[in-house]
């Protein structure tokens, strides 16, 4: 009896140990690649700034004050760093708009793919992923080529006499929106498709049978049932869109600075690494708060929708 228990306990201990061995590589990678840099960022944000970049080994909270406050270069008074706030808000707004636009485009796309015959679906999914094949920078330059003043679209439009003057598309908000939607659309389509593929379309028939028209079926049955996909897609788009760098710089003409531009500036010409680190952590905090609010709202509204 006791011998049997000893054997089984030994086996259990061995199991636990083996589990640790097996997960160790993944844990080490997570520690080194995710938590390590984060830790360094936190430490840097509390150090003094070096004159030529880098940090000095002295504790300082200047960087954190610098996120919110700025010293006037003429009279040295402290003022509210509204430029930082404007930049943060601009990035959040761009990410939000991108999420909404990709959702508006991605949902019908996912629905279209789901309702194709099974053999065709793979082809459509394959087409959706094609943009991933090329480097982001190259794709963005390609968009530039399409929409610039004497680009392909303007040439065609003026050639056909549809417009007299070439349209100003590059370096506008439209261009940024176009670039963002183009880049992030697959990240919205794929999770929604994954959810929708599991949707039992007999539910849709049941809805029609119970006097729900097309819109009511969409609102009351399809959307609640694919909500996990919508949430996942929105998160996948919103987070990277918040840190978008290339599209605003190349398509928006870089006139409007985004958070990521601001941060990269601190590590580059600004030579203020602690401020860059503090701004990065602030960005992360914004993402986390936004996600918490979003997920809470989404799950609450699905509980309320009866």
């Amino acid at each position: 009896m006791t011998a049997a228990r000893e054997v089984s306990e030994a086996a259990e201990r061995r199991d636990v140990r083996n589990r640790w061995y097996l997960t160790a590589p993944a844990l080490i990678i997570i520690m080194l690649a995710a938590i390590g840099p984060l830790f360094i960022m936190v430490v840097y944000s509390f150090l003094g700034k070096g004159d030529y970049g880098g940090v000095t080994a002295a504790f300082s909270t200047d960087a954190w004050f610098g996120v919110l406050l700025e010293r006037d270069i003429f009279d040295d008074t402290l003022g509210f760093a509204d430029a930082h706030m404007i930049i943060f808000w601009r990035s959040v707004r761009l990410a939000g708009v991108t999420t909404i636009l990709t959702l508006l485009l991605g949902f019908p796309t996912a629905y279209f793919i789901t309702t194709r015959p099974e053999k065709q679906r793979d082809i459509w999914l394959f087409l959706v992923t094609i943009p991933f094949w090329t480097n982001l920078l190259i794709r963005t330059f390609a968009i530039q080529e399409l929409i610039r003043r004497d680009g392909i679209i303007n040439n065609v439009l003026t050639g056909l006499g549809i417009v007299d003057e070439p349209l100003q598309m590059l370096n506008t908000d439209f261009a940024i929106g176009l670039g963002m939607v183009y880049v992030y659309l697959p990240l919205m389509v794929l999770p929604i498709y994954a959810s929708m593929e599991k949707l039992d379309f007999r539910m849709v028939e049941a809805g029609y049978d119970l006097y729900a028209g097309r819109l009511a079926v969409l609102r009351r049955i399809i959307i609640p049932l694919v909500k996990p996909g919508i949430i996942a897609g929105s998160i996948l788009v919103f987070i990277p869109a918040l840190g978008a760098y290339v599209a605003p710089a190349l398509l928006g003409g870089g006139r409007n600075m985004m958070i990521s531009n601001l941060i990269s500036l601190q590590f580059g010409q600004g030579r203020n690494w602690p401020l860059g680190a503090a701004l990065s952590i602030t960005l992360m905090a914004i993402v986390m708060v936004a996600l918490l609010v979003y997920v809470r709202n989404a799950s609450r509204s699905s509980a309320r929708a009866h």
């Binding site: 029609y208 049978d209 119970l210 929708a305 009866h306």
Partner: protein, 363 residues
């Protein structure tokens, strides 16, 4: 009393796919379903019964022909504009809603005020005896309960016709029996026309007012369970419903709707003819095993043979005979203390066939 026609299908053809690949699921089907009746579409899978149901519901549209609901052609109407509700085979309850929300959904979509919806949901829950489960999620109730919610959901908007697509097939035997009685009760209480699709002949016989037996896109015979069982007109119907003995014979004469059929063994039986069918020459006659009796060989026996097998079933015993003229014949005899089965394997025995039990097939 003949009630009004609730649903009429007129020469309905449904072809899935196009051209050469097209599958003819229904082929010029015409049938009239009366008001307030429990009408069953019975047939094996692929016979077109579910297709016909889906055409009535509006999920598919007929390739040809028309479907009338109380005289009105409903073919152009989408399902959400037809006063018809469906109980789905897998129930298709909405998983993101509670039991009560599921039942109220149809009324809500019809724009009924909340108070009315709530009252009706309460009434429906009482009807299917599930009052206490109103606020449960549909994933938290058993299969039988889901079945009842699906029924309540479909009945709540008071449809003119209720369509039931094999609703009992997912339930175990005992529950299925209970639900059969429950369904019959609900139909009586609500007075709604039920169109029930099943492949289970026993279910069809016990519940229906009338049955349409379907095969390969055609309706072969429509009639009351008794007509279908006692007087099958087609070989398929006789075979599909219950056990049957088939005997070959020749028509010797016809009188008063009955044929005098001379069997291969030389004896004659009086057999009922299908309506409007007057054959001459060779026909097939069917006799249900329980309509025949085992008797001593020779004498009054219509058929003679050797007992091959005696199988005891509790309530009755099956006696398998090899006929002298060839072929097999099964007699089912109810077990009773007074009249026990006495024949054993190898015995010579005869079969008595009454005047009113043989039926001529239309083939």
């Amino acid at each position: 009393m003949v009630s009004a026609a609730a649903v009429e299908a007129k020469n309905v053809t449904k072809i899935f796919g196009v051209g050469q690949d097209g599958v003819r699921a229904l082929d010029r089907v015409s049938v009239t379903i009366r008001e307030n009746e429990f009408f069953t579409l019975l047939g094996p899978s692929g016979c077109g019964k579910t297709t016909l149901l889906r055409l009535i519901a509006g999920f598919d549209f007929p390739t040809e022909g028309e479907i009338l609901l109380y005289g009105q052609d409903i073919a152009p109407l989408p399902p959400y504009k037809r006063p018809v509700n469906t109980v789905f085979q897998n129930y298709s309850l909405f998983p993101h809603m509670t039991v009560g929300q599921n039942i109220g959904f149809g009324l809500e979509m019809l724009g009924k005020p909340k108070a009315e919806v709530d009252a009706r949901v309460t009434e429906m829950l009482r009807l299917v005896r599930m009052e206490e489960l109103r606020n449960r999620k549909t994933s938290q109730i058993s299969g039988g309960q889901q079945q009842r919610v699906a029924l309540a959901r479909a009945l709540a908007p008071q449809p003119k016709v209720l369509l039931l697509d094999e609703p009992l097939s997912a339930l175990d035997y005992k529950l299925r029996k209970d639900m059969q009685i429950e369904l019959k009760r609900l139909q009586n209480e609500t007075g709604i026309t039920f169109i029930f699709v099943t492949h289970d002949q026993e279910e069809a016989l016990t519940m229906s007012d009338r049955i349409a037996v379907m095969s390969k896109g055609h309706i072969l015979q429509v009639g009351s369970p008794r007509e279908i069982y006692d007087h099958p007109a087609e070989r398929f119907v006789a075979n599909f419903i219950g056990e049957t003995n088939f005997l070959k014979g020749d028509v010797a004469g016809i009188a008063g709707g009955k044929a005098d059929v001379r069997l291969a063994g030389g004896t004659a039986v009086a057999a009922t003819l299908p309506e409007g069918f007057a054959p001459n020459g060779g026909v097939t006659v069917v006799i249900r095993p329980e309509h025949a009796q085992v008797a001593p060989a020779g004498g009054r026996a219509t058929l003679n043979g050797t007992v091959e097998n005696v199988v005891y079933f509790g309530t009755d015993t099956h006696i398998h005979l090899r006929l002298d003229e060839g072929g097999e014949f099964i007699v089912r005899q109810q077990n009773s203390r007074d009249r026990p089965v006495t024949v054993v394997q190898g015995d010579k025995a005869g079969v008595l066939i009454g005047d009113n039990v043989a039926q001529v097939l239309r083939d």
